[in-house]
């Protein structure tokens, strides 16, 4: 029973969500918020891997999200829909439902490769110098996208909604909820398993003391390379999901403000805590939506709220602990490795 409780819970959650969306109990607005929650969970947990577990300070996460968003949108639009830029669909649109996860993974791979831009300088630099490299990388990625005119440049790129419609022609189910949910669970699983592997121990060692870790024969360069690539790859998948949820991407929406949002979610949840990142992503997304009626006051209220939270809980919601560390009895009911 212990082994199956988490999968059963997830399946029940997914079927409930999809059922609610299918019978139109929850409208499109609430569906979008739920989608954003899932996407933000991927973003925050993936950034948490670098900033929380490895102890680096990466401030340019939005750059990788942008790469994933653009690569997967271009691929899916070119493959499955008729568009002005790419002409007739290269594959029959009926395949969209099956091809979509592959396209997302391609976006993730492209983002992981872009992660090299940060990973290789990180061999020699640390701390604030690495922070600057990530900021510069974010600027470089955005600026490159703006300068490629075929994919819309500064005007942005659209047409991803047609991919979603093509998927719905296959079967009339809320596809985006399904995919966001699957990839969210997958990415949490990947991070969880990665952190409990030998590499994960190396990551913890780097956070505590890089030089000592290296002396203890931890191959720090290799671990940094792999960790940065996993983190940016998952960010790329989040970007692909974001692009297909909104149906439109613009380079300006992936600037440092977006990176700041990701940072806030990680530090609000607590460094190095996966459950903290998940809770923070949900809370933050809800906060953004609930305070929407306040309009411009919202953008003063949210930072103020965060500052106050920081003053009273300077280690974030969870600190460096997981949910099962705070409520040890939970361990009786589930096993999640």
């Amino acid at each position: 029973m212990k082994r199956f409780s988490v999968p059963i819970l997830l399946v029940v959650l997914l079927t409930t969500l999809m059922g609610l969306a299918w019978f139109e109990v929850i409208d499109l607005y609430i569906q979008t918020i739920i989608l954003f929650m899932g996407i933000n969970i991927i973003t925050s947990t993936s950034l948490n891997l670098v900033n929380g577990n490895m102890g680096e300070f990466s401030c340019g996460h939005a750059g990788f999200i942008a790469v994933g968003a653009y690569v997967s949108s271009i691929l899916s639009v070119a493959l499955f829909t008729k568009s002005k830029t790419f002409g007739a669909p290269l594959l029959p649109p009926e395949l969209a439902a099956y091809g979509f996860p592959l396209v997302l993974i391609c976006g993730g791979l492209a983002a992981a490769l872009t992660g090299l831009l940060v990973a290789i300088p990180s061999f020699r630099t640390r701390d604030d110098y690495l922070a600057i490299i990530t900021i510069a990388a974010n600027y470089i990625i955005i600026s490159t996208i703006i300068n490629i005119d075929t994919i819309g440049g500064a005007r942005g790129f659209m047409g991803m909604k047609r991919v979603v419609f093509a998927m719905e022609k296959c079967a009339e189910i809320p596809w985006m909820i399904l995919w966001v949910f699957i990839f969210m669970v997958l990415s949490i699983l990947i991070i969880r398993r990665y952190m409990s592997s030998t590499y994960g121990k190396g990551v913890e060692a780097i956070r505590q003391d890089e030089v000592a870790a290296e002396i203890m024969s931890v191959n720090t360069n290799r671990i940094k390379l792999v960790t940065f690539m996993i983190s940016s790859g998952l960010a790329g998948i989040a970007g692909g999901l974001y692009a297909h949820t909104i149906g439109y991407v613009n380079p300006k929406s992936f600037d440092l403000l977006k990176s700041t949002e990701a940072l806030v979610m990680v530090y609000l949840g607590g460094m190095g805590s996966i459950s903290g990142s998940i809770i923070a992503a949900v809370v933050f997304t809800l906060m953004l939506e609930l305070l929407r009626p306040l309009q411009i006051i919202k953008w003063v209220a949210i930072p103020l709220l965060l500052i106050i939270i920081m003053q009273f809980r300077p280690e974030g919601i969870m600190g460096h602990r997981e949910l099962s560390d705070i409520f040890p009895r939970l361990k009786k009911f589930y096993k999640f490795k």
């Binding site: 300088p121 110098y129 510069a136 600026s143 300068n147 530090y267 930072p303 500052i307 920081m310 300077p314």
Partner: protein
């Protein structure tokens, strides 16, 4: 060709002056506290707005009648703005950073608090003053000198000279005075300094006063050169100045000064010879290369760590 180059070089010096002044503020706070004060760019914006209100008041655009000539208004606005802006910086330190420092929070939480404080300054401004942009008043008449084929305005000379003079003044304060010595001592060993009877909080407040007044000065000069103010003007220039400070070697004011001019020169030269949308791409690629070759920045010294 040569004239264009010379003219662009002059523009680059002016543009680099802003980056230098802002980077000086970053690097001062960083050198003492090891804190990236991400709200610094927005303090520059606040400085520009303070200068706007003071000069408008003195020029008689509000209830008070105008009784001073333009140059006197400018001469009054600069010190007043610097004082008021440094008050903003110190307030920020007092209510946001110091409690966290006392609690011994992780350094990065203070950085996030700084980011949030910057957002509050931006959006608070938007909330209070509305979304309309403000036109900065002209206080002195523009004079254009022609040297050879190069056009020089009095404003340009003023900006460049001010940034060089303030660098010299800062350098003097840090290397020759007692407070400066205390600042260097704190950056050298934060734990031993209080034991020597040095009031660490006073020194930190002084650091914020210096850094924020530099930001205020940068705000005035920026507003004089590009007289349209909007609440988000500080954000991008602040991030870029931080990058300049790191390229120079953060924590060292010579590095910040040099880094600001390097970034300014690269940006102006890229715009002069390429389409302007390539500016960020080329400028940051070059900076990334510099950091890859010399990971501690131009003037930075590699730190030795004990295990």
């Amino acid at each position: 060709m040569f004239d264009t180059l010379l003219q662009n070089l002059l523009n680059a010096l002016q543009w680099g002056s802003f980056y230098s002044l802002i980077a000086l503020g970053y690097t001062l706070v960083y050198g003492v506290l090891r804190l990236i004060n991400f709200a610094h760019g927005d303090i520059v914006m606040v400085g520009a707005y303070i200068a706007f209100f003071i000069s408008s008041l003195l020029l008689g655009q509000y209830a008070m009648p105008a009784f001073l000539p333009g140059w006197a208004v400018l001469a009054l606005t600069i010190p007043l703005t610097m004082v008021l802006t440094s008050l903003v910086g110190v307030t920020l330190e007092r209510i946001a950073y110091r409690p966290l420092r006392r609690k011994g929070a992780n350094r990065l939480y203070v950085v996030i608090t700084a980011l949030m404080a910057g957002l509050i300054l931006e959006n608070g401004n938007l909330l209070i003053l509305g979304a309309s942009r403000k036109k900065f008043p002209e206080m002195i008449d523009k004079v254009v000198y022609k040297v050879g084929a190069v056009y020089v305005t009095n404003l340009k000379i003023g900006v460049i000279l001010t940034s060089i003079l303030s660098f010299i003044a800062l350098h003097f304060i840090i290397t020759k005075t007692k407070v400066g010595m205390a600042m260097r001592a704190i950056s050298y060993d934060k734990f031993a300094v209080p034991l020597m009877g040095i009031p660490i909080d006073t020194v930190i407040v002084f650091t914020f006063v210096l850094g924020s007044s530099m930001a205020g000065l940068a705000g005035i000069l920026f507003a004089l050169s590009y007289p349209i103010l909007d609440p988000y003007m500080g954000m991008s220039i602040g991030w870029k100045a931080f990058i300049a400070a790191v390229v120079g070697g953060i924590g060292d004011i010579r590095g910040a000064f040099a880094g600001g001019f390097i970034l300014g020169t690269i940006e102006i030269m890229v715009v002069a010879f390429f389409p302007s949308s390539y500016r960020d791409l080329i400028a940051f690629s070059i900076l990334l290369l510099i950091l890859t070759v010399k990971p501690t920045g131009l003037f930075g010294v590699p730190q030795t760590t004990k295990i």
